[in-house]
């Protein structure tokens, strides 16, 4: 199939359909609404389930119910909507059923705004819901990558009976870019053995997240964490750009990483040996790869559209081997490549150790930029 010019949200929705999604349950919210609109039109055409629920809380519990039947099911929402879903997400995790949740992130906290942001990093990557569970988190950076990774999200969810979050920001939901959709996958003939499908001619299956006896819950928690260790072993994904001879590494995910690649190209033209490391799985996090990078570069610059949430994870891996600096824009602002280029130049020129906290130093620089109205 040839490349077409596709709008982010619509392409993501079609990718989910082609990956075999048989149930979509959601509630509209900018900047993810086109995802739901597209599903509303397409799913009934294919005889698949689409429900616009009365709220996000209802939607995620419909996902929960759908997931228990062994079908591929999902929802898509944006930051405040995903917050509302957190209780249900934890129940899905506790019941060990697969589900895919797409978060098209926007500025926050609170009602915030509808502009692009990566401020949900902590919520998505660290779990967000209550209790001991580990979501897989994929952070694609282009329409094509999102199409590919939404397909993968369903495969991983099924393989590990795990929650998979796909997180993008408003930029990616709204933008158009040439991309190629995969062919439509055939739907599986038989449900998985654990699914609740009516129990005709077999012993009933029982799916629940309730373990009244703590000893039973502990056994479940052990199973979940061992599964997670398996995921960490098998499912790390990332992208590298001009890293082979890099003396400086920029680390950024999603749109921030992508914008950084433009700055890196410009810095290379100035002779700065800088490359980009872009984690695609934010959970499991590419720890080993970042550790390796910290052993061969002089400095690391983390770039995000939040207050340095991934910065903390990178710093914990680097363990002070090299300085880890930070640049970010907040509140729905997307950095331009020239800002990141300035930061690369600064990091490449600066031979002195940073004076204290990378975050504190960044905030004082950012306040100046904000004052100048940039």
């Amino acid at each position: 199939m040839a490349k077409e010019l596709l709008k982010g949200n619509e392409a993501f929705a079609e990718a989910a359909i082609r990956a075999g999604c048989e149930g979509f349950y959601g509630y509209p919210i900018t900047p993810s609404t086109e995802f739901l609109e597209y599903m509303a039109k397409r799913m009934p055409q294919l005889g698949r389930a689409f429900v616009q629920a009365e709220s996000e809380v209802a939607a995620i519990n419909m996902v929960y119910g759908g997931a228990c039947t062994g079908k591929r099911v999902m929802t898509a929402s944006s930051s405040p909507g995903v917050s509302l879903m957190m209780e249900g997400i934890s129940y899905i995790a506790g019941t060990e059923v697969p589900a895919v949740i797409v978060n098209v992130m926007r500025g926050g906290p609170g009602l915030g705004n509808i502009a692009p942001s990566q401020g949900d990093y902590h919520q998505m990557v660290k779990g967000g819901g209550h209790g001991d569970y580990f979501p897989i988190v994929l952070a694609p950076a282009s329409v094509q990558e999102a199409i590919d990774y939404i397909s993968l999200a369903f495969d991983l969810a099924d393989k590990y009976r795990n929650i998979v979050h796909v997180i993008v920001d408003g930029n990616m939901g709204q933008m158009m870019e040439p991309a190629e959709l995969p062919p439509m996958r055939e739907l599986p003939k038989d449900p998985p053995s654990w699914a609740v499908t009516g129990a005709e001619g077999r012993q009933p299956n029982f799916l629940s997240s309730i373990y009244i006896d703590p000893a039973d819950e502990e056994v479940t928690n052990i199973r979940l964490v061992k599964r997670w260790m398996e995921i960490e072993k098998n499912e790390i994904r990332y992208s590298e750009y001009l890293m082979e001879d890099a003396e400086f590494a920029v680390i950024g995910f999603g749109t921030a990483g992508r914008v950084a690649s433009s700055a890196i190209r410009a810095a290379r033209e100035e002779g700065v040996k800088v490359g980009l490391f872009r984690p695609i799985t934010l959970a499991p996090f590419p720890k080993k790869q970042i550790e390796e990078i910290s052993k061969r570069v002089k400095r690391i610059l983390v770039v995000e559209m939040n207050t340095g949430m991934m910065l903390d994870d990178v710093a914990a891996i680097v363990q002070g081997r090299v300085p880890v600096e930070f640049y970010g824009r907040l509140g729905g602002m997307t950095p331009f490549p020239d800002e990141i280029l300035d930061e690369i130049r600064r990091v490449a020129d600066n031979k002195a150790p940073i004076n204290g906290d990378a975050r504190a130093e960044w905030i004082s620089r950012l306040e100046k930029i904000v004052e100048e109205g940039r």
């Binding site: 077409e4 010019l5 040439p178 914008v259 890196i264 331009f336």
Partner: protein, 187 residues
């Protein structure tokens, strides 16, 4: 590597987003990489609306740019904003039907087109965006006019298909107006 950034800006309803999409479809048909990204804020309803189109032979990093190579401004607020931001030596095309001042900068290739008047003469005021696009292609030939026309023919919404000949006319007249203006300026 050749990368061109274009910002198209105007009031909501002037067709700035669609003009950018036509450009994006044409770039794809022309075998190039392209991104199109709209402003999608609440300002879309009645306020200003703009989109950024990046066209490149290489993979595109940032879909957004602070200083565009080319600015296509369909109203005065857009001129006020993008005259300042257009890259030094870049190109700016303004809709003189809705812009009542000249440029303050002297380092831009520029062109003023009475796009609303030309569109109204053709018979559909909504075509001003296509007049502007045609004029832009003469000042800043990011893509051949023929490729744009083919892209428009392929992607115009069905409900508007009957206006295709008028759209072509609008583009050609915009292009021709630019041709006359620039030839006169050069003479």
């Amino acid at each position: 590597m050749e990368e061109t950034s274009i910002i198209i800006s105007g009031f909501g309803g002037q067709g700035t987003l669609f003009a950018g999409q036509v450009l994006a479809y044409a770039a794809l048909d022309n075998g190039q990489n392209v991104t199109w990204i709209p402003s999608y804020g609440p300002e879309m309803r009645g306020g200003t609306a703009h989109c950024t189109v990046m066209i490149s032979d290489d993979e595109i990093g940032s879909p957004l740019v602070r200083n565009p190579d080319v600015s296509l401004v369909l109203n005065l607020p857009s001129l006020d904003k993008y005259e300042k931001l257009t890259k030094p030596g870049g190109a700016l095309v303004a809709n003189s039907s809705l812009v009542n001042r000249g440029l303050e900068r002297d380092d831009l290739e520029h062109l003023y087109i009475p796009a609303n008047e030309i569109a109204e003469e053709i018979g559909l005021a909504r075509m001003a965006n296509m007049v502007m696009l045609g004029g832009m292609l003469r000042l800043a030939p990011v893509l051949p006019l023929e490729v744009i026309k083919q892209a428009l023919a392929a992607h115009i919404p069905e409900r508007h298909r009957r206006t295709l000949p008028m759209n072509f006319e609008a583009m050609e007249q915009g292009y021709a107006f630019a041709e006359r203006t620039l030839t006169k300026a050069a003479a």
